[in-house]
């Protein structure tokens, strides 16, 4: 897959404060989570990629285009949903989304058509003629998402899209993010504090800490790797059974009298383990895939 974002020794300084420190890496995922504690530099990274802050040194490329020199053509291909409330005063949702579409280069009639479609898509169809000032927080978030996607961008930056949402609104927002991801028409950069939200939507995660990259994890690969680790609790297991597991092609470690930790090789299925256990008169009482959750990955990165 072609890289979406390439970070090339990207550094951002505000006065004497260094916010991002020589970031280096390549992001390729369909939906890329941006994680980190407060002040880690997530929002600054997004703002820099959007061209709001010029890099102090280094650069970044989006779809192969340099943010220093090709900002305008990059912006034509991206959408941005800011974290804070951001609206044009005294406008209805359809008026607002249409204006944003026209500013992105859509002709007036096309922008109006897309504004209606987008508002229906995000679930604000019935409320599209209401003024934004009368919207609830959840509706405002959806309106912000609508303005970010009205022009059909190839890359969408979502800065804390589930902030302050009640459970149904959060569920709806995450559904929309997954739908856009699965459409295959756009990549998403999803900044959030909520690990569960990121885990539900993202296939790649960039973890920042103190302005540096603490980890860049491809969640799908990580999940595949996790499938190889198995924790097994047995009754009646003998050293002979462990040896036979080894003969089958598993690496094992005994933890406790009846507990085994296994790394199974390609081509070995779980049913092979059950079959072997049956042959040796061993009961498998519990069998878990040991899975590194995003929380584990995040906590490791923070160490």
């Amino acid at each position: 897959m072609d890289p979406i974002i390439e970070l090339d020794q990207l550094r951002i300084e505000f006065g004497k404060r260094r916010i991002l420190q020589d970031l280096q890496g390549v992001l390729k995922g369909r939906c890329i989570g941006l994680l980190g504690p407060n002040g880690a530099g997530k929002t600054t990274l997004i703002h820099t990629l959007l061209g709001f802050h010029p890099p102090s040194s280094g650069t970044a490329r989006i779809f192969g285009k340099d943010i220093r020199t090709e900002g305008k053509s990059i912006k034509a291909a991206i959408g941005y949903m800011p974290e804070r409330d951001a609206f044009i005063a005294n406008q209805t949702a359809v008026h607002f989304v249409r204006l944003m579409g026209e500013l992105s280069g859509l002709p007036s009639e096309a922008a109006l058509e897309r504004a209606h479609e987008t508002l229906f898509y995000v679930g604000l169809g019935e409320a599209r003629y209401r003024k934004l000032g009368t919207y609830s927080l959840g509706m405002k978030q959806l309106a912000k998402l609508a303005q970010a996607i009205v022009h059909g961008p190839r890359l969408i930056f979502l800065d804390e899209p589930t902030n302050g949402l009640d459970p149904p609104a959060r569920k709806r927002m995450l559904e929309l993010i997954r739908e856009i991801r699965d459409s295959g028409c756009a990549h998403l950069i999803f900044s959030s504090h909520l690990l569960r939200d990121v885990e539900e939507c993202c296939d790649e995660v960039l973890i920042l800490k103190d302005g540096r990259i603490a980890a860049n994890v491809h969640l799908e690969e990580e999940r595949k790797a996790n499938r190889k680790f198995i924790e097994m609790e047995t009754r009646g297991a003998t050293p002979d059974f462990a040896e036979s597991l080894s003969a089958l092609g598993c690496e094992y470690a005994v933890s406790g009298s009846q507990r085994l930790k296994l790394i199974i090789q390609e081509g070995i299925e779980v049913r092979d383990l059950y079959k072997l256990a049956a042959e040796r008169n061993v009961q498998i009482r519990r069998l878990n895939f040991k899975r590194d959750s995003l929380e584990d990955i995040f906590l490791k990165a923070m160490e």
Binding site: A76, Y80, I88, L106, P107, P153
Partner: protein, 289 residues
């Protein structure tokens, strides 16, 4: 992505030209403004003076009408530089009122609603944003000032003959230049105050103050230091000097400063306003300490 098809699709149609996108801003502002009856009434009122001037020019060339009203041709207002200067002064005063009404909220509302990141995350630069906002005032003030002024000039040329037009072309230049300088200056001042002053009333007061306060300061500097250079702060005076020069009328300010200095005053004010706008018009405020 029709309304009944709930899926995400990219836009694959044609795009507008990048250079023309700043015009989206005035179009949306006018849509809002012309919803208000009071604004429409005020806008219509701005064309009363051009109507009166049209009648005056018509009467000037219609001897039968003059005879009907019992007016001798000697009593008719002469159509010259002074005639058009008075017209331009009236219309520019109305332009000031419009600026006071519209200008103070043009940027302050966007700042209050955090709208700048939405504009600037699109293929739309800070300069395009500023120029888009400026064009709201430039277009409106042009419609009030130099457009009717030049139409009057053409009407007079039509009635008087082509040679009058050629001999008095400097009047047309004066109408256009004075109105344009005034519109640009007012526009930049209004935007700069709008960007820096959140409260509408205070921004409107600042617009008045910028024309009133420099007068006593200029005279105070003249009285204390014995120099007239203090008047260089006075935009109104610079405007009068320019108008007198362009319309070839008597200088009401007794040439306290020259035309070159008047240009300089406008230039300096303009540059200061642009700097103020450049500092404030950003997606996000950066605290660098």
């Amino acid at each position: 992505m029709a309304v009944y098809e709930h899926n995400y699709k990219p836009y694959e149609g044609v795009l507008t030209a990048g250079w023309s996108r700043f015009l989206v801003i005035p179009r949306y502002v006018y849509q809002d403004l012309f919803k208000y009856k009071l604004f429409i009434a005020l806008f219509v009122l701005c064309f009363v003076c051009p109507l009166v001037y049209t009648i005056l020019i018509y009467l000037h060339h219609n001897t039968s009408a003059l005879t009907f009203f019992g007016i001798s041709s000697a009593d008719v207002v002469p159509i010259n530089g002074f005639f058009f200067k008075v017209f331009t002064t009236i219309q520019t005063s109305l332009a000031f009122i419009f600026t006071v009404i519209i200008g103070p909220v043009l940027i302050s509302r966007d700042l209050a609603n955090n709208a700048l990141p939405l504009y600037l995350s699109r293929p739309f630069s800070r300069w395009e944003y500023i120029f888009g906002k400026l064009s709201v005032l430039l277009i409106l003030l042009s419609v009030i000032t130099w457009v009717p002024g030049l139409l009057l000039f053409l009407f007079q040329s039509y009635l008087e003959g082509g040679s009058w037009m050629i001999n008095n072309f400097w009047i047309a230049r004066g109408i256009f230049m004075i109105s344009l300088v005034w519109a640009v200056s007012l526009g930049l001042l209004a935007l700069a105050f709008s960007a820096w002053i959140k409260w509408r009333t205070a921004a409107s007061a600042a617009l008045f103050a910028i024309f009133i306060i420099p007068t006593p300061i200029g005279f105070a500097i003249q009285a204390i230091l014995g120099t007239t250079k203090g008047h260089l702060l006075n935009l109104g005076m610079a405007f009068n000097v320019m108008a007198d020069e362009f319309f070839r009328t008597v200088n009401s300010e007794d040439y306290i400063f020259s035309l070159g200095e008047a240009w300089m005053v406008f230039l300096v004010y303009g540059l200061v306003c642009l700097y103020m706008l450049w500092r404030k018009v950003r997606a996000y405020e950066v605290i660098s300490s």
